[in-house]
Amino acid sequence: MSDAATLGVHTSLTRMMMRRFLEHRLAVVGGVVLVLLCGLCAGAPLLEAALGLDATEVDLFARFEGPSAAHWLGTDELGRDVFLRLLYGGRVSLFVALTAALAAAVIGTAIGILAGYRGGWADALLMRLTDTVIALPLLPLLIVLAKVDLAKLGLPAEAAHGEAAQLWRLIAIIALFGWTTVARLVRGATLSVREREFVRAAEALGARSTRIMLVHILPNVMTPVIVATTLSMGGIVLFESVLSFLGLGVQPPMPSWGNMMTGAHELIWSHAELVLYPGGLIFLTVIAFNFLGDGLQDAFDPRAARR
């Protein structure tokens, strides 16, 4: 490691982390891929206008066309432009994943700090809850939750069945089970932070525990939050795609990478490329998030000895 050579020179902690991160080449590649993907998907409407196409336009006389100047990746079973649908699908998939991960991070951080700082029975209870959630058969439960009819709970039909409601519900379901990694890591970090002098000082000055947790502990456990959230992103993208593929997540006609493959069992016999594109993009996204998370972990964790 080149630390020895630069010891004399002033190096900030951030610079050191930055260098360690950049040393992890695959993580950098993962980050660049994700930025490009997000940019492309975000710019889908602009590209749509530039190409003079309509991503939702059905043309039954132009089904399953090969790639052409007009349709870069050809058309699907309803004659819609595959390239644009992939970008719009990516918008939905990435939006669901990012929002669910953010919600999971908030839940996990709250539980982790509370358990770590309070200790005692609160810690025992919350960690038992975490262990229990980890021990549950996740996939079958997600499927049941996705199928539940909210109208039976007395919600108005449009709030229970609308397109937007379906999307938010998917996010809520994934967040409900996705917070455990963050909670565990944050609890561990909180346990060490709470013994530090500045927390002791704040306690001696009479700060309330809410203030200590929010002002003194939270900023100091952001590192594990960021690492754990990045690491759990891959899993969340996978869950969204599985549920949508099974017809329980994002509902057509709204495209997502998962539901674009719903008819895959027939398509693989004739038009395999329609299955290869969305699945490949999910794979690319998940592996990029996993590399990025691995790199962040290495960069932030001084104990992770490398080379």
Binding site: L138, L139, V144, D149, I268, R306
Partner: protein, 319 residues
């Protein structure tokens, strides 16, 4: 030890009981209603008949009362009838369970057999070409969507090469045909597990290789292979065995995707089909059975951990 095991068993029972309440509630919230389905399927039934049927089956009673009645029957071994199959739930679940155990068991053996060599090759020389290759494979295995992997395998070996069947179970042909139908599902299930295990074995072995007693062993002149397998791996085994045990439950419930993709008649596909087909009794029993197996495999992993590591005492492990 006995006290610890009893404590953990009780805990598992409590979680299972809580889950049964939650799942019972969720099933009740499924779209569709068994009586409505009966009434709409049979033109001779009127709305008044529907109401009478509802009273007959106790569906007009409050939630808590219905749940307790179900629990009482379930504890007596009566899980009700399946709507789709018109047979007692327990009769259907048994063979399905056996099928999933075959699938998951084969994949489990294959994963462990492949993960140890891979993990050790990687750990022997960290950041060498071999390690990088294993690492890349592991990341790919963890990141690939399982249903897409299943589709890729079907595309390559069934559609393209025509070597293996795309799914289902053979009606005839004996053991050979059955084995041919198992190859792709087992492969799909195995790739993800191998990747996860190999990565963990690599990490734990590298960590163990840095410990003092390994240096002592090296100084004594033990061969690198002996140091790796007898000194480093043996110590890495404790967390590895635990994680593999914990993973078993995940694989068991995750087999749902593989089973659905290959039309393999196991528990996962049964649960999925019963949820999609409004077969409430069957879905409820299936979900709780899978929960029980997941919880038990976690319990086994925990107990194994306490048993393997003499430094962990039962009292300490309880908190």
């Amino acid at each position: 030890m006995t006290a610890y095991v009893t404590h953990r068993l009780l805990q598992t029972l409590v979680v299972l009981l809580l889950m049964s309440v939650a799942v019972y509630g969720l099933i009740w919230l499924m779209p569709g209603d068994p009586i409505d389905l009966m009434v709409s399927a049979n033109p001779d039934l009127t709305a008044a008949d529907g109401a009478r049927l509802r009273a007959l089956y106790g569906l007009d009673r409050p939630f808590a009362e219905r749940y307790l009645a179900w629990l009482q029957a379930a504890l007596g071994g009566d899980l009700g009838y399946s709507r789709q199959y018109a047979r007692p739930v327990l009769e259907i679940v048994g063979p399905r369970m056996a099928n999933t155990l075959i699938l998951v068991g084969l994949s489990f053996v294959a994963s462990v057999a492949l993960a140890f060599p891979l993990g050790l090759i990687a750990a022997r020389r960290p950041y060498s070409a071999a390690d990088n290759a294993v690492n890349l494979f592991c990341f790919a295995g963890i990141s690939i969507p399982p249903f897409w992997l299943a589709l890729l395998l079907i595309m390559a070996f069934s559609v393209g090469l025509g070597w293996l069947p795309a799914g289902g179970v053979p009606a005839e042909g004996g053991l050979g045909a059955e084995a041919a139908h198992l190859v792709l599902p087992v492969a799909t299930l195995t790739l993800g597990s191998v990747a996860a295990y190999a990565r963990f074995i690599r990490g734990e072995t590298i960590a163990a290789l840095r410990l003092d007693f390994v240096r002592t062993a090296q100084a004594k002149g033990a061969t690198p292979w002996r140091v790796l397998t007898r000194h480093a791996l043996r110590n890495a085994l404790i967390p590895v065995v635990t994680v593999i045990g914990l993973h078993f439950g995940t694989v068991f419930s995750g087999a749902l995707i593989t089973e659905t993709m290959f039309a393999y008649p196991g528990m996962g596909k049964l649960i999925y089909d019963s949820i999609m087909g409004n077969d409430f009794n069957l879905a409820l029993a299936g979900l709780l059975l899978v929960t029980l197996i997941t919880l038990l495999s976690n319990l086994a992993a925990d107990l194994l951990y306490v048993r393997l590591d003499p430094r962990v005492n039962y009292e300490g492990a309880r908190t």
